[in-house]
């Protein structure tokens, strides 16, 4: 064979852009010829993936060329759910949309419900919704990982997942809890490989030992939903052994803050503050009160304080009192967690040893927020990482908080070898916006929809006490629902509760299938008509998707989107960031090929709609379009003066970073730079960021904040204490009896754990049923990819050896799995490496017949299945006669993994998974049979 190869693939100009098949957002080199994508590989220079690419990214060609792509705007031409449409022009489509939306804005903007699913442009879509004036906007975070995000932001001003990362280069021990794949998937894999090759150790806490968990040095096969207890037990042992970082607690956390502990006092549970609202601490040396920010203060951790009759005690003392309790001793939690006491004990020991006997330091002077100069960054090289195995439970918020408190007492957050923030994080809850609800006719909403409440005064009630948002976010049922509650939207719209709506407008969410709780019920709600009027109960549905997914058939008007290689996008610091602990980065997507169909980028369409609806911010004084296109918006829009969607190449000479005047040539600069922009953080600013003066200054310069925002970590979460103090509220804002009890039990300002399954229910439904992300599939979209569907063409239910034996299962058997509300019939398989009471399957492999450009009888629909049919948004009625929502009481996060079931072997001669739904008619042709 010829030695010097010249192939087309390496001869082309490569277009450097960003992958889309998950929120990792790796850099890709797309080789293009004659408007055809011929090869996609990882971009070596990209800060996120450094050249590597996952299975989804590598098969991007068939994401882009998928047979299931929609071709033209569609108008429903049959009943909802039939799949019958007629093709219309874009002009016509926009005209219809405007006809529907214009009167809504004029009369009752809240009747537009705009939810954007797996949106990677939330700062834009949110802004659009704000200009429209509806309070009803959110993306999908409420059913995804709001527990993780909110607990993190409230506690340490950042979270695992995209907000920060283990210090892969220096950590020596990583504890990874409840993670299968995660958003940061390539960096995690790169990091795990590096860590193991350096001789570092990994401990995995997960009911299932696959993927990352399989390569861990030690595996704790925990019983689902009990991580909080395990973590607090580790806290217990570490306290008991005096293995805590006192100095870190004293200087950088609210451990020394004084909490009022006089029950009858108005400020019971709240911090002692001075008249400027600055929390006070006792000085260790003088025993006097001082502002915690005082330059000279040496905060005491243990000293109580009394003012008149009121007693104050430190957060630290409260914490000790709580966690030294024998309730949390390893032997007392072992059974509940399914983990031997010796393992918990040994793990605590290991953690303590690495944190305190193997600490590291970087000799670099820095100044803390009190103005004290320090000569080095001390590091405790233990890091933690957690994701949906923790957050997708109804005790997830508190469990996430517990993990952060564990990191805090070890002093491992944002230190060398620990967990490190990625800019624009850290950003405390106080530096985030508060949620806004004030809507009115023909005007924008008074501010951004989503944010972080500081107390009941920020909740989402209107002046008359009525609930402001359709998803009931920020109500007493889930006061800290920082990402909204997409999973309640369809139900609430259907029920007209809290009010009736007019148009449901969705983008990129497969709500009639894999992202719904109880698919069958959801479909019913989307299709049911009012028996009197014959009209649909949810009057109008507009939807934007690129593909013929299960949800398309349930909309009245379809706005077909492009694929990720055909449009502009920005991965913005105003949004879900990419970045590295020592680098600030953002990136773009741009049309590396032109669409061969009559489709348009959704963001362009939104802007167009905005102009047609004459939304402020989108039009000039002469009422014409302010932005030519989304690309133009990306370059020209300023959120705050000098701060826009992209932080790189700003200013007239395109050399400003972070802040600077808009630059007409910005996107070109990004393209030339490889599709992204990054700038290193000076070493002096790289660690201890929340308290590091030079970082704070740098962050202001970069436009991450407008003023320095130093803060201390919130072991004790005062906003929760405030929620528990409802007595001062006007009557119409009070939570009501049954909720009050729950608030007192669950909204403890110090992390607690409770069991999600009550023993009565557990008797009849003894097993925990969970899902995992397969690395080679992205939710529902992977199945349209002809390569990926050969790897995961159908799924099985993996059961433990115990369950396998108990039910005498054999290879090829089928089982009926029953939850408290419904049943599914599915194929089973044995996996030994899993918790004995757990069953699991790969997520979102099951497909509805007729969709995704696949033939009607593919295994994905005939054998594959979803667990979603078993999960409901409301739990069965409890003894209190109340149907509690299947979600976290604090954030409203959907509790996917609280599912409990029973299982029985069934004879399934037809080898068909159940339930089977009728085949949907497809307006697009089934994909080709042969690809060669």
């Amino acid at each position: 064979m010829n030695k010097n190869f010249k192939t087309e693939k390496t001869h082309q100009l490569v277009a450097k852009t960003t992958c889309y098949m998950c929120a990792c957002r790796c850099g890709i080199d797309v080789h293009v010829k004659n408007n055809e994508v011929i090869h996609i590989e990882g971009n070596r220079d990209h800060p996120v993936n450094k050249g590597v690419l996952c299975a989804k990214g590598s098969s991007g060609i068939f994401q882009h060329k998928a047979a299931s792509r929609l071709q033209k705007p569609l108008l429903r031409d049959g009943e909802r759910g039939e799949g019958k449409f007629k093709e219309i022009s874009w002009d016509k489509a926009l005209e219809i949309a405007v006809k529907w939306l214009k009167p809504i804005r004029k009369k009752y903007p809240e009747k537009l419900v705009f939810f954007t699913g797996r949106d990677q442009s939330q700062s834009f879509t949110g802004w659009w919704a704000q200009q429209f004036g509806t309070p009803n906007y959110a993306a999908h975070g409420g059913f995804c990982s709001v527990n993780m995000a909110a607990a993190g932001i409230y506690t340490i001003g950042g979270s695992f997942w995209e907000f920060g990362t283990p210090d892969w280069d220096q950590t020596k021990l990583l504890v990874i809890l409840g993670v299968a794949e995660d958003h940061d998937s390539n960096p995690i894999k790169i990091g795990l490989g590096k860590l193991k090759n350096r001789g570092g150790k990994i401990v995995a806490v997960n009911p299932v030992r696959t993927g990352y968990n399989a390569i861990a040095d030690q595996w704790l096969g925990i019983k689902p939903g009990t991580d909080g207890l395990l973590i607090l037990s580790l806290v217990h042992v570490l306290l008991n052994r005096k293995k805590i970082d006192l100095e870190y607690l004293q200087l950088f956390t609210n451990a020394p803050f004084l909490v009022c502990v006089s029950e009858d006092s108005e400020d019971n549970g709240l911090f002692l503050r001075d008249k400027d609202g600055v929390p006070l601490v006792v000085d260790q040396k003088t025993s006097k009160l001082k502002q915690f920010t005082d330059k000279t203060v040496v905060p005491a951790l243990t000293k109580p304080y009394k003012i008149g009759k009121k007693s104050y005690t430190s957060v630290f003392s409260l914490m000790i009192e709580k966690y030294l309790d024998e309730r949390y001793s390893p032997s007392n939690v072992a059974d509940e967690c399914g983990i031997p006491a010796a393992t918990i004990n040994g793990l605590a020991d290991q953690i303590a040893d690495v944190a305190f006997n193997q600490s590291i330091a970087i000799n670099q002077s820095w100044t803390d927020f009190r103005g004290k100069k320090r000569d080095r960054f001390v590091g405790r090289p233990v890091s933690f990482h957690a994701m949906r195995g923790i957050s997708a439970h109804s005790n997830g918020f508190q469990t996430c908080r517990a993990i952060h408190v564990l990191q805090i007492i070890l002093g491992t957050v944002d230190v060398p070898g620990g967990f490190r923030f990625k800019p624009p994080y850290p950003k405390p809850s106080s530096a985030h916006p508060k949620p806004h609800f004030n809507f009115g006719k023909d005007r924008p909403l008074d501010g951004p929809h989503l944010g972080y409440i500081a107390g009941p005064e920020d909740l989402g009630y209107r002046e008359d006490g009525s609930i402001a948002r359709i998803d009931k976010a920020y109500t007493w049922e889930n006061p800290m629902s920082a990402h909204g509650l997409m999973h309640t939207v369809i139900s609430n719209c259907y029920n007209g509760d809290p009010y009736k709506i007019d148009t449901l407008f969705m983008y990129m969410a497969n709500m009639a299938w894999n992202s719904s709780m109880n698919t069958e019920e959801t479909i019913k709600k989307l299709t049911e008509k009012n028996s009197d009027t014959g009209e649909y109960i949810i009057p109008r549905i507009i939807y934007s998707d690129s593909y013929y997914s299960e949800t398309v058939a349930y909309a009245d008007l379809i706005l077909p989107d492009t694929t990720y290689l055909e449009r502009h996008d920005c991965i913005s610091l105003l949004d879900r960031p990419i970045g590295e602990p020592d680098m600030v980065c953002d990136a773009i997507r741009w049309p590396v090929v032109q669409p061969d169909r009559d489709v348009r980028g959704f963001q362009d369409v939104l802007l167009d709609l905005g102009v047609k609806l004459q939304l402020p911010g989108m039009i000039k004084e002469n009422k014409e379009a302010l932005y030519e296109s989304y690309a133009d918006y990306i370059q020209q829009h300023e959120r705050r003066p000098g701060v826009g969607p992209l932080a790189g190449f700003r200013g007239k000479n395109q050399s400003s970073s972070g802040r600077g005047a808009p630059n007409n040539n910005q996107i070109e600069c990004y393209k030339e730079n490889g599709g992204f922009w990054s700038e290193e953080i000076p070493l002096e600013s790289q660690y201890y960021k929340p308290w590091n003066k030079s970082y704070q200054k740098w962050a202001v310069k970069m436009g991450l904040y407008d003023s320095e925002q130093p803060f201390v970590f919130q072991i004790y979460l005062e906003p929760l204490a405030k929620l528990q103090t409802t007595r001062n509220l006007p009557k119409h804002l009070k939570p009501g009896k049954e909720l009050e009890k729950r608030i007192f039990e669950k909204m403890d300002p110090l992390p607690i754990w409770w069991s999600n399954s009550d023993p009565e229910r557990a008797k009849s439904f003894p097993y925990h049923a969970i899902t995992q992300r397969p690395a080679a599939m992205y939710h529902s979209w992977g199945s349209q990819n002809i390569w990926l569907r050969q790897i995961h063409g159908s799924n099985k239910l993996f059961v433990s050896e115990d369950i396998w034996a108990k039910h005498s299962f054999m290879d090829g058997d089928w089982a009926k799995v029953t939850s408290e509300t419904s049943s599914i019939t599915v194929p089973v398989a044995l996996m030994r490496g899993q918790n004995k009471d757990t069953i699991w399957t790969w997520n979102a492999i099951g497909k509805r017949s007729g969709t995704w450009g696949l033939a009607n009888d593919v295994d994905e629909s005939k054998k594959g299945f979803l667990l979603n049919h078993l999960i409901t948004d409301l739990l069965p009625e409890k003894s209190d006669g109340y149907r509690w929502s299947n979600s976290d009481p604090i954030t409203g996060q959907a509790a996917w993994y609280d599912l409990i079931v029973k299982i029985e072997k069934v004879d399934n001669k037809k080898k068909l998974s159940l339930p089977q739904f009728p085949t949907i008619y497809s307006p697009i042709a089934t994909g080709k049979k042969v690809i060669k």
């Binding site: 050969q790 790897i791 995961h792 159908s794 290879d811 398989a829 996996m831 030994r832 490496g833 295994d859």
Partner: protein, 293 residues
């Protein structure tokens, strides 16, 4: 291994054909048959061999290049087979011409054709016997049984008297082969541990598939046959290939080729089962990567 009908037919028919050719040359040399018989059976043998060879090309996915398969006779048994079979057929053809023109004076060509046809069957058998990847084939018994089957099968037609002994030996060899197969299956040096590089034998199982559907490897190399099924087919095979022919031979007088032909067909049917099992029961090493246990 997947028991592909085209390959089974190929090995059986071409084996039988070359067996016939081998006998013809031998009988011709000792003048035990007439010229007419030489001509008729050479044509029959050649025809079956050619049918077998054609049938084997059904298995080729890219027939255009079949011609190139003669090139590697120095290293490849398949190539040697191709060369040997063509040489045998050529010799048969020459012999035929000579005999046709009444010059049955150089029976040497016939005996050389006869030897070459045995060599051809041997090369065919070596295609399988050489494969370490299929331990149960990787034995001298494989060429032995292939050659024996070819000769015995043809003998039923041409020399039923010898065939009786031949069938007895075939029975023994067939049982030896099965015994060998079962033993290698049990004591395979290759197992899931060696397949994955583990030095000591460990309990390992596959829990999830590398791909959820079939692929070329699974279709071709991973074929599972139930124990019971296998036993039944072994009985049937011996019944048809040996016991019925032997019984008929003992009971009926073989004075026309018609009886021989019928018995041969019965025998070949039995051999079909045997050959089917030869493939179906052979375990290819790659199956360890796919096993669930």
């Amino acid at each position: 291994m997947h028991p592909a009908p085209s390959i089974i037919l190929f090995t059986i028919l071409s084996g039988f054909g070359f067996g016939v050719i081998a006998w013809v040359g031998f009988l011709q040399y000792f003048s035990l048959i007439s010229s007419l018989e030489v001509i008729a059976f050479s044509i029959l043998g050649g025809f079956l061999a050619v049918i077998g060879l054609i049938s084997s090309t059904f298995h080729l996915a890219n027939k255009i290049n079949a011609i190139k398969s003669f090139s590697q006779w120095r290293s490849s048994w398949l190539s040697r087979e191709a060369v040997a079979s063509i040489v045998s057929l050529l010799l048969v053809f020459i012999n035929l011409i000579i005999v046709y023109f009444g010059k049955n004076t150089v029976p040497l060509i016939g005996i050389i054709a006869s030897l070459f046809s045995i060599v051809t069957v041997f090369t065919t058998s070596m295609i399988y016997a050489q494969l370490r990847s299929v331990p149960s084939w990787n034995t001298l018994l494989t060429p032995f049984i292939f050659i024996l089957a070819a000769l015995v099968g043809a003998a039923i037609l041409l020399r039923p008297d010898y065939a009786l002994y031949g069938l007895a030996v075939l029975l023994v060899i067939q049982f030896l082969f099965w015994l060998y197969r079962d033993q290698t299956e049990k004591n395979m040096k290759t197992n899931i541990s060696t397949a994955l590089g583990f030095t000591e034998e460990s309990s390992i199982r596959s829990f999830d598939k590398a791909h959820t559907n079939q692929n070329y490897l699974l279709n071709e190399m991973v074929y599972k046959i139930g124990r019971k099924h296998s036993r039944r087919l072994r009985y049937l095979s011996v019944l048809f290939s040996i016991f019925i022919p032997v019984s008929i031979m003992l009971l009926v007088r073989f004075d026309t080729y018609v009886v021989g032909a019928i018995v041969s067909v019965i025998h070949l049917l039995g051999m079909y089962f045997s050959r089917w099992l030869f493939f179906a029961e052979a375990r290819h090493a790659v199956s360890f990567y796919y096993d669930r246990s």
